[in-house]
Amino acid sequence: MTRIGIVGNGLAGVIAAKTLREAGFEGEIEIFAQEKYRYYPRPNLIEHIAGRLPAERLFAFPEGWYAERRIQVRLAAPARRIVLDPLAVELSSGRKVGFDRLLLADGASCFVPPMAGADKKGVFSLRTWDDALSILDYLREHRRVVVLGGGLLGLEIARALAARGAQVGVVEFFDRLLPRQLDAQGAAVLRTQIERSGIAVRLGTATKEILGSDRITGLKFKDGSAIDADLVVVAAGIRPSLDLAKAAGLDVERGVVVDDRLRTSHTAIFAAGDNVQHRGRIYGIIPAAFVQAQAAALNILDHDKEYKGTVPSNTLKVAGLHLTSVGMAVPEGKGFEEIRKEDPDRGLYKKIVLEEGRLVGAIWMGTKEGALPVSNAVSQKSDVGPWIKEILEDGFDFSRLR
């Protein structure tokens, strides 16, 4: 095997290429990048929009990184089609480049819910550096911003734009923020914090139409109400890129289907990153892309590395608050006891979920202290014993639960 092709120059593509070299592969590695930039970590887009990271620090690795590893990267050279037999990548010029093995790492794209007027000027998604630059450019003379989507990314985009001095509102379709991590009370504490920072929050609201002639002037919602807006960022989730795989006849469901070796339904084609569906799961998170890319690279070289899936971290930061959400954080049905402590002024919300006296779930927001121990206690279904109230206090000694 002398030639390995990688479609996609994001985290998965780059880590796969790096792993191939580290594993001793001496042949040709060629990456096809849709964008005209070398690899940059996507979280840096938020950092730059917020004014916390200058453009010069966008990139993760120095300019010579690819050349140092004899990795060929073709910028602004998206694959138009995957050709089978012989295996090759066809570019938009029609030129075909042949390979022995191929890695599909073309990631995902932003989902835009169907609504009239979504193609008007002033409506953006945030996925690429060019998106970030376009948003910042348009923002200069268009200051009333609405972010459609109250999930993690929507909230971070809202805060970043508010940090640039924009007047920002978040519109969320569901009846609370972060529905997967937070229950209604926790989400209310989060909402308070966000509103205190000057960002308006509107829940349970579906957008029907983007108003304006050639550029956006407002939004109309399904309940008939409307608001003014100059700029909209759609943050309604991502969808795996499936076009190349579908056209090549590979197995595709919600993502490109791969086995425990990251191999697609074609023996010489592997996939890793946001485009992948493994054991029925799609991820869209950095740790999954990273580990999948490493495993895929090793399997491409027949080094046999099993990938069993990724356990998503139950800890994240939202609106500057530390948040841990573990186990049955939002239980349904009977038989559960929930005990809470909150301080909305501090953005503090702690809740434990008990089943027959055992810890089966917890939400810990607004403090890091005790988050890891309570997480471990939930994994072990520890008996909370007589400590039902004390466990929520600052500085509780979790070793008492043993």
Partner: protein, 53 residues
């Protein structure tokens, strides 16, 4: 003390500087960082870091 590099984003943890914004004092070795410490730049865990040689 060894510096460590985040493999996902290139962030360098320098023990001499620590990570004061997240409660890590200067002079803290990488090995002594808490288990739940994450890359300040991109959020991945300690297991994504590699010693810089």
């Amino acid at each position: 003390m060894d510096k460590y590099e985040c493999q996902a984003c290139g962030y360098i943890y320098d023990p001499a500087l620590g990570d004061p914004e997240h409660g890590v004092k200067p002079g803290t070795k990488f090995e002594d960082l808490p288990d739940d410490w994450t890359c300040p730049q991109c959020g991945v865990g300690k297991d994504f870091f590699q010693k810089v040689s």
